[in-house]
């Protein structure tokens, strides 16, 4: 009898914990819960005029979203992207286009983006647009971002920090999580270059 009581008590505890997790997951749905992002073509502004994803057909495209006010995450990832690209042969580098899209179009002008991205790798392109255009591209790639007001008066932007790899035909092929080493990025790029 005592044993049964214990079993019931244990069951209640397990159910409560499971319920708690379920409730949490309902309250904070993962940005990727909708499945793999569909990706797709887009047109945004560079300092040298509009650029579309289809301009780079035949090349592997590495796509990353962030903003120039970003103090740590974006510069770190862009540095790793620069290191990954520089580790490839010149022939391989010529077949890859790196693109950095701002999620802070209010502050990041096309000129600012150009000067910023070239610091990390000379061939990178920086793109901006109006907030609606940026939001549309972000949605298609499953990028989530939101403004976080600071007490100091400025603002930061919380954002997802995945690297998107797009095959030569313009389809999204791989998503790399934040914090992957340069060697992993380079290996993924080499693999995509081998695919027809």
């Amino acid at each position: 009898m005592k044993r049964i009581r214990w079993i019931i008590a244990a069951l209640v505890v397990v159910l409560l914990i499971a319920g708690g997790f379920y409730w949490r997951s309902m309250r904070h749905p993962s940005p990727n819960s909708a499945g793999t992002p569909q990706g797709g073509d887009f047109t945004l502004q560079s300092a040298d005029g509009p650029r579309s994803l289809h301009d780079f057909r035949g090349k592997v495209v590495l796509l990353y979203f962030g903003y120039t006010f970003c103090p740590d995450i974006c510069p770190t990832t862009l540095t790793l992207i620069g290191q990954a690209l520089s580790s490839l042969s010149p022939a391989q580098q010529a077949k890859i286009q790196g693109i950095f899209v701002t999620v802070d179009p209010a502050r990041d002008t096309a000129r600012k983006m150009k000067a910023y991205v070239r610091y990390f790798y000379p061939g990178l392109i920086g793109l901006t647009g109006n907030p609606q255009e940026i939001a549309a591209v972000a949605r298609r790639y499953g990028v989530v971002y939101r403004k976080h007001e600071e007490k100091s008066g400025g603002y930061l932007i919380d954002h997802s920090a995945f690297i998107y790899l797009i095959g030569r035909h313009g389809t999204l092929r791989r998503t790399l999580p934040h914090g992957v080493p340069a060697a992993t990025i380079a290996a993924a790029l080499r693999q995509l270059l081998r695919q027809p």
């Binding site: 103090p71 740590d72 770190t76 862009l78 000067a115 007490k151 997802s160």
Partner: protein, 163 residues
């Protein structure tokens, strides 16, 4: 009787005042700081961050509660949270340094955020930093400006990817 107690109380008070500073060294004197650096900025980048290692040589918990620097208009203590794939940077009131423990300020974790830099930070420069601890004690250090690519080569990032 009363005067005896008073005398004893006075003696105790005197003793505690005399010995207190020796028994309770300031936080600043208990914390050893090593490997400080500030990352150089890309053109147009107006924010940067300082990183360092805080080692607590005492048997008491301490905390870094503030920092200042002439290099930036605003200096704040921050941490990174990785929530549902979102990278969130949040100000923190303090960065704890446990008794006999070590707290590493590193990419993707705790850092000293330098907001609105007064001028771009170039590799080779030195950034003075004043660190303030929980008891109000200070420690002044100088952190070299290092190119981000150099810091990432020597120190593989330990990113929290388990959320």
């Amino acid at each position: 009787m009363l005067s005896k107690f008073t005398a004893l109380f006075c003696a105790c008070a005197l003793l505690s005042v005399t010995y207190a500073p020796a028994a309770l060294a300031s936080a600043a004197s208990s914390i050893r700081i090593s490997h400080p650096y500030v990352t150089a900025v890309a053109p147009g980048q107006t924010n940067s961050a300082a990183f360092l290692v805080l080692k607590n040589t005492s048997a008491r918990n301490h905390a870094l509660v503030g920092a200042s620097s002439p290099a930036a208009k605003i200096v704040q203590l921050h941490t990174h949270l990785h929530v549902n794939g979102m990278m969130e940077m949040r100000q923190v009131k303090q960065i704890p340094i446990k008794a006999h423990g070590k707290t590493v300020l590193k990419h993707g974790g705790f850092h000293i955020m330098l907001i609105n830099l007064r001028k771009p930070l170039k590799p080779g420069e030195q950034v003075p930093l004043t660190l303030t601890f929980e008891d109000g004690s200070h420690q002044e250090i100088s952190a070299p400006v290092i190119k981000l690519s150099d810091t990432l080569k020597s120190m593989p990032m330990k990113m929290d990817r388990h959320h």
